[in-house]
Chain length 478, copies 2
């Protein structure tokens, strides 16, 4: 684990020195991480909490960090001495990785001395924005693939090594079955996949020689790239010839990969050729600029593609390369431990923050086990499942609806308590399964890509009233 303590914006440190000088640095504060709505986001898949927890656990300025800060000439020695001994001692509430989440709800809340809570803003956002972005994109792509295997192939186009490695991790959480990224495979125990590039084929006197040489090295699970020269006239026939030789020596081939050209047409023709030759079980894997839109289009065209290698557009979330998660002050506490809620006003109504230390519930209909709405409360509110709950109607926001026969689940739990992690690292397969299971508890109307119903994230009456009164009190200038 690298020491990422300096992975922060300078202003977190200048403010830190300011709080230190004012004697406010150890005042307890509450900050929320949440996303704002975006036209391309129907739902998000939370990810990155594991790395966020590791980062917080390891937070410390080492000697060289302090020396660097000193060299900037803006920090005082007493402040630097304070930083040297500082560790993260706060509490962190967070949703599970793989959780389906929506705009405005605090998916991670930091409750810590002000100076710590402020310092960790940037890195927490970097980690959670990134992994949640890629997990969400993967979830959309896997939905388009309708249960087919989706393989993450994007490392070479990732925005640096971490983007490739943690992007692969997030892609698996969102539903990808494997990655080409060996480093991610090692770190996270993710299945890795990949066979050959065009350079392999170009490096033999003929395509047939190249295929034979590969089959000799990997007689089992042999998957051949058939588009180096001419897919249907050369690639597929040569592959079939080598598959016949493999079968004669007692091995079954895995299939072929198409990486260019008209994937709909080529896959249909290749399927016929493979079937006619008796290789009905050989799969056709496709890659090349794929994303959820193209996969959906290929499916509509009846493409005979069994598995999908998705690269650039997944690993960069190309149509939305940043999620825009924010980290906003929600409360501080006075010397007696009384909460002083905080609000950030804005001319744009959606940008007004939700004040106070909060809790988030997911409300399920007991009859169908489907999610109805999320419900944000002040932290100490209790929900009584035996009593009807008043919620915004999911379609007509001006109407309220009364929900009975529901269960309420707290969406977040303690990730870190007093600076210590509260649970061990989960296997990625567990997180992936959880994501799939929980997504199954949403009506497709909420998670579909085009014109989805807007899933409601409601405020409790008590929280709504607090917010209204604070807007009234502080918003007079606007």
């Amino acid at each position: 684990m690298r020491n990422l303590t300096l992975l922060t914006d300078l202003y977190e440190l200048t403010m830190g020195q300011g709080y230190f000088k004012e004697g406010k640095h150890e005042q307890p504060a509450v900050f929320d991480v949440f996303f704002r709505p975006n036209r391309l986001i129907t739902y998000s898949v939370a990810a990155g909490m594991e790395q966020a927890a590791e980062y917080l656990k390891n937070l410390h300025f080492d000697e060289s960090d302090i020396a660097y800060l000193r060299s900037l000439g803006i920090f005082t020695e007493d402040f630097l001495a304070y930083l040297k001994d500082m560790r993260f001692t706060g509490d962190v509430y967070a949703v599970r990785e793989g959780e389906i989440v929506f705009p405005y709800e605090p998916i991670l809340t930091v409750k810590a001395p002000m100076i710590q809570a402020q310092l960790v803003e940037t890195a927490l956002l970097t980690i959670i924005n990134h992994q949640t972005l890629i997990a969400s994109k993967a979830s959309k792509i896997c939905a388009a693939a309708q249960g087919d295997l989706v393989m993450e192939f994007g490392l070479r186009r990732a925005q640096g090594a971490d983007a490739g490695v943690y992007g692969a991790r997030a892609a698996v959480i969102g539903g990808c079955g494997s990655t080409s990224n060996v480093y991610a495979g090692k770190l996270f125990g993710v299945p890795v996949s990949g066979t050959m590039a065009h350079s392999w084929v170009m490096n033999f006197p003929s395509e047939l020689d190249a295929f034979r040489a590969y089959a000799e090295s990997f007689p089992d699970g042999c998957l051949l790239l058939v588009d180096t020269y001419d897919t249907l006239r050369s690639g597929v026939p040569n592959a079939i010839r080598v598959f016949q030789e493999l079968r004669a020596s007692g091995h079954e081939p895995k299939g072929i990969r198409l990486d260019s050209g008209d994937l709909a047409y080529l896959s249909k023709e290749a399927r016929k050729m493979l079937d006619r030759a008796g290789f009905e079980k050989a799969i056709i894997c496709a890659s090349g600029d794929l994303d959820e839109y193209l996969i959906r289009s290929l499916k509509e065209q009846g493409a005979k593609i069994d598995s999908w290698g998705v690269g650039t557009k997944l690993i960069t979330s190309a149509d939305l390369p940043a999620l825009g998660g924010v980290y906003k002050l929600a409360a501080v506490y006075d010397g007696e431990g009384n909460e002083i809620p905080k609000i950030k006003l804005s001319n744009t109504t959606e940008k007004i923050t939700n004040p106070s230390f909060k809790e988030v519930y997911r409300i399920y209909d007991r009859a169908t086990d489907k999610a109805i709405a999320d419900y944000i409360t002040r932290f100490d509110e209790e929900i009584d499942e035996s009593k009807p709950l008043l919620l915004f109607h999911p379609v007509d926001t001006w109407k309220r609806m009364t929900v009975t026969n529901f269960r309420a689940r707290k969406l977040r739990s303690l990730l870190i308590k007093g600076g210590e992690r509260t649970y061990d690292t989960l296997p990625l397969s567990t997180i992936q399964a959880y994501c799939a299971e929980e997504k199954g508890r949403f009506w497709e109307e909420y998670t579909r890509q085009d014109m989805p119903h807007i899933y409601k994230v409601d405020l409790s009456p008590a929280l709504y009233e607090l917010k209204r009164s604070m807007v009234e009190k502080y918003g007079k200038g606007e």
Copy 2:
């Protein structure tokens, strides 16, 4: 330096084992890194060669890497034993960081035993694609800012820690004057900047209290964020009051920052208020969803903005989040050291690769010292500056033009020779200055954003003839 040896696609390793089994693994091979054209790219700024060199120098599989590969069950023990002792022993030719580069030209060429050259494909592409992308975006943004200070502010929206850190590095190469990223500041000696967030202001009883407290901590270089409540009715007047107090105590304020709202209107009004109060030298810094388009628009509207904090859209290159650089086999050598050129054919003419080990020259007009064209040759060709050179006409590609009174500069030099670096790490300021200087050697017609002239990258007659003959020979199937 982390060991990134496993930062590769699995197929590089399966092919490696295939070459090993075939006895081809130590055959010398030449691979080129180059970009394909893209509607959003007029020119690119090369970056990442420093990290590419470090990666290659450190290339080695450690015990745990070998153990992991063994656990996959697809690699043979003799191959794993070979990997264990393998180091990078090849040569790498590359353009300087900060060099202005264009599609199709090999900006980095690896000449190494096949197994090494193949293995390093993925990580080299990851590193160079990413940094070149961000350096190029920064160059466009800085061009729009017309010499104003541009500050890189994007860490929290970066695709992971590396994207933030190396993205900041690349942004500085492309022209940014500072970064908010403290870690990048420490690693690369880049100026860091930043003062306060809205949370600081919200954390005091009033905006005025917050400003005073900050000014007390940082009496010199005091820059105040004025848009937390109401920019013109509260933020700027409160800032001016604190600036007057600062001046009374012998300090000059730095200025204000606007982070929301109508930046054109607000900056003009704030400028008037500051000027009327006698703070003509106080700067106005703006941030909030900026990119080259918005900066240009604000300039056109006469916004009174002195420096620009650019975040998400720079650090992710939001309108083009991947550069699509590729790594293609250009040649192998037989046992006698004779070159066997390689070509990748395609139905798409632009995707046909340029065969052979190559050299790239930039041709300058001696009278103006401006670049005329880039010229790709076979590696051993010599250019005689005393003789006229025949080039494609820069505008009418069907015409050839004869160039005299020119100088030809080799665009690449040895970055690594026999596995060893040939030069030391350069200061980032040197690289940034080089980039600016070399960009000055291009007519603006080539580097402007809208409808630029297409800068020509020409092939020498010898290389053109080789390519033509290979297309004829191998392309018969198409």
